[in-house]
Point group: C2
Chain length 410, copies 2
């Protein structure tokens, strides 16, 4: 008998019929002798509907009141799922975040979990009930309703699994696991049986979008066994996210090829090479709330340097405007150039820590196809390059093949 926390997202509970499917799946696990806690999101579309109502009242909705409104989405789902479970003859009981007492700080709309009172849940489980908990929400010390921000239901699932010391936290989603790359780009893409937390973090932040990055960090911190599964398929073990690297490193050097189409590259040319220049360039950009991804500085020979970075394509025009109007004249740079038709491709794998030659293999593979590398950035477990957008699919395909990801794990 195991204690399992299952989390179902908005598309898995989009309507009463799908909620009934979730109930049947939960019932199957309970019939196998497991104790089950289920964390659910709002029915898909519901959160946006509620935010729309709020914006009809206030251009910038008050965060406290927005949380009061938005948290009702999950509250409806927990009641419906508890009913669905009861309709199958199971004992079931729902809890809002406040009722569990998922205590958070008071940062409305992006609160952080402080502690979880798991006593009542344990009591219900001991009595044979399935416990259904509203994801994404909590309550602060003063009893105000808080939300964890978009995707926070994953975090709720992991946090409850941590508090209960559950055997596994299963995240049900509309994909059946983590793939070596996007199957729409490379038909040979394979589902990974396991992936390490660190790889998952890189895959998520690089746009794999299977799990919220925060929930993965949380799982890593509390050593929660996390599994990604499809809520629409009956079979399949999904992908297990582990924090033991040992087995993994023997098997495969590279876990996957991640990519991001929305990258735009900006270079400030002829920057005087002196201390503080990076801040003078990026300070005004970040003050405008523009997120910067890769940053590279190339040392020049004439006492000046070129400074490059990437931003989301949607913020390219705004960033260029800031650089041209505020930064370039101020720091005495020669010119600002940019390209919003670029893409980022990354090779990810904890194995590369102990293997040399990954970078050179990646660069050679791209060179053989005539793909020019515009920027390079590396971490311990990934190598990212920026290339012309039009070569993106080709690059992903050839790298997937070159690193032998087309075949089942050895």
């Amino acid at each position: 008998m195991a204690l399992i926390v299952q989390k179902y997202g908005g598309t898995s509970v989009a309507n009463p019929e799908r909620i009934k499917n979730v109930a049947r799946r939960v019932a199957k696990f309970q019939a196998q002798g497991h104790q089950v806690v289920v964390v659910v999101s709002a029915m898909s579309g519901e959160t946006n509907r509620l935010i729309g109502l709020a914006k009809a009242m206030q251009e910038h909705p008050d965060p406290r009141e927005l949380d009061v409104i938005v948290s009702t989405g999950e509250q409806v789902t927990i009641g419906l799922l508890a009913m669905g479970l009861q309709d199958l003859g199971l004992k079931a009981k729902s809890y809002t975040g406040a009722q569990v007492r998922i205590l958070t700080d008071n940062a409305h709309t992006k609160a952080r979990i402080v502690s979880i009172d798991e006593e009542n849940i344990r009591k219900d489980l001991a009595e044979g009930a399935v416990v259904v908990v509203a994801g994404f929400q909590g309550v602060d010390e003063d009893g105000n309703i808080t939300t964890l921000g978009r995707g926070g239901s994953d975090t709720t699932g992991v946090a409850i699994a941590a508090a209960l010391r559950a055997d596994e936290c299963q995240i049900y989603t509309d994909v059946d696991g983590v793939y070596t790359t996007d199957p729409r780009v490379v038909s040979e893409a394979r589902r990974l049986k396991t992936i390490t937390f660190e790889e998952m973090l890189e895959m998520a932040s690089l746009g794999s979008k299977v799990l919220q990055i925060r929930s993965v960090e949380f799982a890593g911190k509390y050593k929660v066994k996390l599994r990604v599964l499809s809520s629409f398929e009956e079979e399949g073990d999904g992908t297990l996210i582990t924090f033991e690297e040992n087995d993994k490193m023997e098997q495969a050097i590279i876990s996957g090829i991640a990519f991001n189409r929305d990258e735009a590259k900006i270079t400030v040319l002829g920057v005087p090479d002196k201390p503080g220049i990076a801040y003078q360039i990026l300070g005004p950009v970040s003050e405008a709330n523009i997120d910067v991804d890769m940053i590279i500085q190339n040392m020049g020979t004439d006492g000046s340097t070129d400074f490059s970075f990437t931003v989301h394509r949607n913020e390219y025009a705004k960033a260029m405007d800031i650089l041209n109007s505020q930064v370039q004249p101020h720091i005495g740079a020669r010119q600002v150039v940019g390209d919003n038709k670029t893409a980022k491709v990354s090779v990810v794998g904890v194995g590369m820590r102990s293997h040399v030659g990954i970078a050179s293999k990646m660069f050679r593979t791209l060179a053989e196809e005539g793909i020019n590398i515009q920027m390079i950035s590396t971490s311990e477990i990934k190598i990212s390059v920026v290339i012309d957008e039009k070569y993106l699919e080709l690059a992903v395909r050839v790298l997937h093949k070159a690193f032998d990801l087309d075949h089942e794990d050895a």
Copy 2:
């Protein structure tokens, strides 16, 4: 400066535009120096939508979980109204029933209020904020969400007014007060400036539907000054419901003519006249959850009697079936006859306690129009008759005129 509790129903908060109107009205009261607590219902249609979702999960939704779901309706409205008030530059804060701590018993979907913790509300009011409270909901001792049943938002408003010892509880609705009768039937119907609690109780239970009967009882018990007003008209003082009869009795004997179209009459003929017979007839009916309204027993001369009562028209067939199959053969009655084309008309007024001749005036007025009276039932402040449905409008019109209700209070 007064402390005012205002309650707005579902049609008054049906969409963001109407919620903004409510915010403006509240702001006007605050600008006049009053402290305002606002109680709101769910946006109209929302409660039914949520019940529909629940019924899609379970034929008979679990009451605890139904309350979890349905209570979200008001929770959305409080957030939206608080935003609307803030958008006008006011301080405003929302409270769910659980956050106020409106403590109820644990009778889900029809809970009764046990106590209200008004401390936080008082603090907010002292700080100049408008407090927005979710109607219709509370929380039991174990932290389960409860609801007070349909129309319970009125009760919340009155209960909060009682707890705060507010100067007035204003119920905003889609009518601008209590009328001498339905203006759609009698165009001369007038809005009453005041009505007593007892009259109001009779008017409400007789189908006037302006206020929930429970909230009126509650207001009477705690001596809360209750005023019914229109949320769609800027001017007008509505109708004040009082518990001081003195002035009132000098002015008018009869306050209004109430009526109910949905009455069906059933008579059990030739019932042996012996003790316990009423229970033998009505026991099986009430066990089938059929509400009985008027009950009359006519003494016969041959040792047998006729027993008549009325039920809601929708339950007529079911009641007849029970009487024919279970009751009539069992008690040895001669026959069961019924008529579901009847209606009830009532003359209501505390004044009739001290005035004779009201009944005879009523009966004479109906006789002059050739309207046959099928049943009569009286209380201290009302006289009700059952008549053929087709004479209903005529009866209401002539009684309205006979009791001089067409003209302004003297």
